[in-house]
């Protein structure tokens, strides 16, 4: 598999570490146990197009949101996580 890092360009799979589904959003402080449980444990585990977090730890250390198909492994889009490249926020 090859992932096009938005910062580094196309790189091979071995440079990246997988985390998981990017859909669950960490509940805000004060959220209930049920909400946090859902965030931490339950997954759609989609067979098809998903968005997921990958870490370019063997490269620029950016966290990436990768749109990938779990049936074909085809990658359709890659974008940086909100805080990767944050120095340009507001610029």
């Amino acid at each position: 598999m090859r992932i096009v890092c938005p910062f580094c360009g196309e790189r091979e799979l071995g440079e990246f570490t997988y985390l998981g589904d990017a859909k669950p959003v960490r509940p805000v402080a004060g959220a209930s146990e049920d909400e946090v449980f859902d965030y931490v444990y339950l997954r759609d585990n989609v067979a098809g197009a998903t968005s997921e977090y990958w870490y370019h730890g063997g490269g620029c250390r950016a966290w990436l949101k990768v749109s990938r198909n779990t049936l074909t492994h085809e990658i359709s889009a890659v974008e940086p996580a909100a805080g990767a490249g944050a120095a340009k926020v507001g610029a």
């Binding site: 071995g14 440079e15 490269g59 120095a87």
Partner: protein, 209 residues
């Protein structure tokens, strides 16, 4: 009281043996030169401060730091992209060391001294690409990785910073490799293993190539 000396010791002090290595009877296809005792500072822009940092850096170096995987050579420093909003300043002689850069950049960036965290090796020669192809998944073809191209990547499952410097005087390509100091000896042996079939010339230097 006893007298101390604080002699710096390269992480490759033991492993690096100058001279020839590998296949004999052919002209060495790869030259490996360790550059010792350099200053290396990691500069990371603060949130929303990319433009400020670029401005401040320009004041220091005369050029804006690279905003993409490239290495910029200035008369007294090399600025190497190392990730989004960040770059390395590689220099010698203290002009761009941590203590001098910090005041100039501190408002817009966070600085970490990495001078001792890395070993620096110059890989050059007619077989440099063939040898690096055993270590690096990056396409180093002249057209894909021109002079000044840089990459934050991995070799042997270890993070490295790789960039292509100016060609050697004989026109052969030269690559620079910053690797973590604690991995350096291990990676060095892997490099020798990769280069052995081509014949290797090994040296070290206090100066950049």
């Amino acid at each position: 009281m006893v007298d101390f000396s604080w002699t710096p010791r390269s992480p490759l002090e033991k492993a690096l043996v100058t001279g020839a290595h590998g296949a004999r009877g052919i002209e060495a296809g790869v030259s490996l030169t360790e550059i010792r005792n350099f200053d290396l500072v990691q500069v990371m822009a603060r949130r929303g401060k990319a433009a400020d940092m670029a401005k401040a850096a320009k004041a220091c170096f005369g050029v804006a730091p690279p905003d993409a995987p490239k290495a910029l050579q200035t008369p007294d420093a090399t600025l190497i992209w190392s990730g989004p909003d960040q770059f390395f300043v590689l220099s010698k002689g203290g002009k761009h060391a941590m203590d001098t850069l910090a005041p100039a950049l501190s408002g817009s960036a966070s600085l970490s001294d990495q001078s001792h965290a890395r070993a620096l090796i110059s890989v050059s020669g007619i077989q440099a690409r063939a040898m690096l192809a055993k270590l690096s998944s990056i396409d180093l073809h002249a057209a894909s990785f021109p002079i000044g191209a840089a990459a934050a990547t991995s070799m042997d499952h270890t993070s490295v910073t790789l960039w292509r410097g100016a060609d050697r005087e004989d026109g052969l390509p030269a690559f620079n490799l910053l690797m973590f100091a604690t991995f350096a000896e291990s990676l060095w042996h892997t490099m020798l293993d990769s280069a052995g079939e081509y014949g290797v010339t090994i040296s070290h230097s206090e100066d950049f190539a």
